[in-house]
Point group: C2
Chain length 405, copies 2
């Protein structure tokens, strides 16, 4: 695995818990001490299922040759990339060069570009699709929760319909961290999601709105009625390519308080990545000061309570009748912390790529080509997720039940 | 005059318009170019009533000897101090040393102390009261609008009653600068007013509340119903000493939007004067970054529209009956800009000390001792203010009319 942040912590624990399937575990990032801290946490929890290798490495993931060398040195056959979204392409290139399978959880980003033209996957990853097929390299794109599990949710629902009309992905964090304000990920990354144009797919074309402009109340299992807003999100960019006849939208839940604080900071220019000069002549990037005064996202985990609910409302036609199905998961912050020392947001993002790796290892998802998650069979994915902490449920006209009930 | 900020700009214009009474005008501050810019603006408007001296000087107002030397060199007989509140005591000392009359518009502050014990005047200025009397030096404290004109408003109303029961000073800026958010003065000074304990005088004792905790709707002339909040303010600290039998409170108008932005910034720690360290290791004072992203207060003037209403609601007993009187002024932002190139807030603060200086020059207020404004006859003050731009009105059971109608 590449990366040593909050999601990497979850990935490491889950790999350890399944090392009978996955074999040797090597964790690499730019900062060795962060890898070692994760290994220490894995050992503390006694997470290794069977005895085996668990090792930390230093690597600059922006350097393809260095990553390829590390893959060769460790004999890694599967690379789970949960480093920053800026390193996707260099790590993917190293996998193509060495033949290792590649799994990531988010679209590649150029640090200098806030908002690129849709579909985003076409700007970077998909340009390597032919090369992966030619070389027989497995590359599974966006195998976190959203993107990732929600793509499988969509596929699962669509497989039971004759025709799909719309896919609405809804991501609600109904948890509470007890702070006045905090972001669940690095504020610098977190706020990037909300400052660009919101792209969505409707009437077979890309449409645009802006953050917090389009809101809707959703009545959801467990978490109840929650307000969510159309946001830009990776999965819209592959689902719309695979199901162009369907409307595809992503909705993220925000409380009024969050939106208010965000709006004040953005309106004042305090979320800017462009430096300003103080009266004393000091050049400062306002966003970095905001980050400095906000709680460290990893500090939230111990006191985080409540649940997340993420799911897909898929509408379509079956036997000539309009049907709809909500496929979803509910996760609990406190349970996540007790199991792997992380909050629920990191947990939902970190468990799925490990399930994907297990399916590559078993051969079920070893596609020898580049795939987005909806291009793979969702059932074995759900089966593993049920076992390792993220059970899938379905709610439709027939009731609310496990996906395979 | 000492100082070259927004209020100093108004003072300079008003001194120039009345230089037949005031004589030579010398403007001094740490930054000579700021003084020169003010002189340039005075010349542009052709503000000098008669030909005369108008000159800029560089001085460190924290240095008593330097200020005393400048007073001697210029032959200044009256010093209007509208520099930062941190220089009051050094400038006052220079006046006592040279015999020049001293006029200021705000209480002395120690930059290291946010909130001192009441009454504030007793911590610094009043310690020099005996010395002023002994040397026959005139020192008029707090002769801006609030403190200043509002102290005279209180005295005027009280003079017409047998007994005073309460003095509520209400300061409403119903103007609009058209920006998302801005402060009317330097944000570093402006926010200091709201971050400490709010002291008020009730039942013959000091009581405490906190900013925005005590709000009330006021129905006022011209600006209509406006919500104002109890705030700490200089004039409470002298009026309560002079009229200990009366309750004395100060109310400042704030819109919900202002309070919201302020609350977000303060809750996040972005108004802190204590440095934080960014992830990159840069030490930054958050308040200085907030100041850097906010509009420069002086940039607001050209587009500022609307009016201010500042007044005193005084309640008491007259001939055995309960009576009340609202003494007030309404000023207009746009008219202020057209006359002296400043917004209304600076205008209301800068005109009164010039009126005070004219009364010192005429002898009417040349008390040869230290006085707060309510310890001086308000009528000649109102007469001059009527003439130079800030007319006083009265509203009571008999109607709404000029103070002398």
């Amino acid at each position: 695995m590449i990366g040593a942040g909050g999601v990497a912590q979850v990935v490491a624990h889950k790999c350890a818990q399944n090392n009978d399937v996955l074999g040797e575990i090597h964790i690499a990032s730019r900062t060795l001490s962060k890898c070692e801290a994760i290994l220490e946490s894995v050992r503390e929890k006694g997470a290794m299922k069977v005895e085996g290798v668990l090792k930390a490495h230093q690597v600059d993931a922006m350097d393809t040759a260095a990553v390829a060398q590390l893959i060769r040195d460790t004999g890694a056959q599967i690379v789970i990339n949960v480093g920053s979204a800026f390193v996707n392409m260099t790590v993917l290139d190293a996998c193509i060069e060495t033949g290792a399978a590649y799994i990531d959880t988010a679209i590649h980003e150029d640090p200098a570009k806030i908002c690129e033209t849709p579909p985003w996957y076409a700007n970077y990853e998909w340009k390597k699709r032919d090369l992966c097929a030619e070389k027989g390299v497995t590359a599974i794109l966006g195998a976190g929760f959203d993107p990732g599990v929600v793509n499988a949710f969509a596929r699962f629902a669509i497989d039971q319909m004759d025709e799909v009309k719309s896919i609405d992905i809804v991501d609600i964090n109904a948890g509470s961290h007890g702070k006045y304000f905090a972001t669940n990920f690095d504020p610098e990354i977190n706020f990037r999601e909300f400052t660009g144009t919101v792209y969505y797919w409707e009437d077979q074309q890309w449409k645009e709105t802006s953050m917090f402009a389009s809101g809707k109340d959703w009545d959801l299992p467990v978490v109840g009625t929650q307000r969510a807003y159309q946001s830009g999100h990776d999965e819209v960019h592959s689902l719309s390519a695979n199901y162009p006849q369907a409307d595809v939208r992503f909705w993220m839940g925000f409380g009024e308080h969050y939106i208010n604080v965000f709006t004040v900071l953005q309106s004042l220019g305090l979320l800017s990545e462009q430096p300003v000069k103080t009266a004393e002549g000091l050049e400062v990037v306002p966003l970095k000061v905001v980050k400095a005064v906000l709680p460290d996202p990893s500090s939230l985990a111990p006191d985080y309570t409540g649940k997340t609910c993420i799911g897909d409302l898929v509408k379509g036609v079956k036997d000539g009748e309009e049907v709809e199905m909500f496929v979803y998961n509910v996760a609990d912050h406190k349970e996540a912390y007790e199991e792997v020392g992380s909050q629920g947001i990191s947990y939902t993002a970190g468990v799925p790529p490990v399930a994907a790796a297990m399916l590559v290892a078993s051969g079920e998802w070893d596609a020898k080509s580049m795939r987005n998650v909806e291009e793979l069979d969702p059932k074995p994915f759900f089966t593993i997720l049920d076992e390792i902490g993220l059970p899938t449920r379905v709610k439709d006209a027939k009731g609310d039940r496990p996906w395979n009930a």
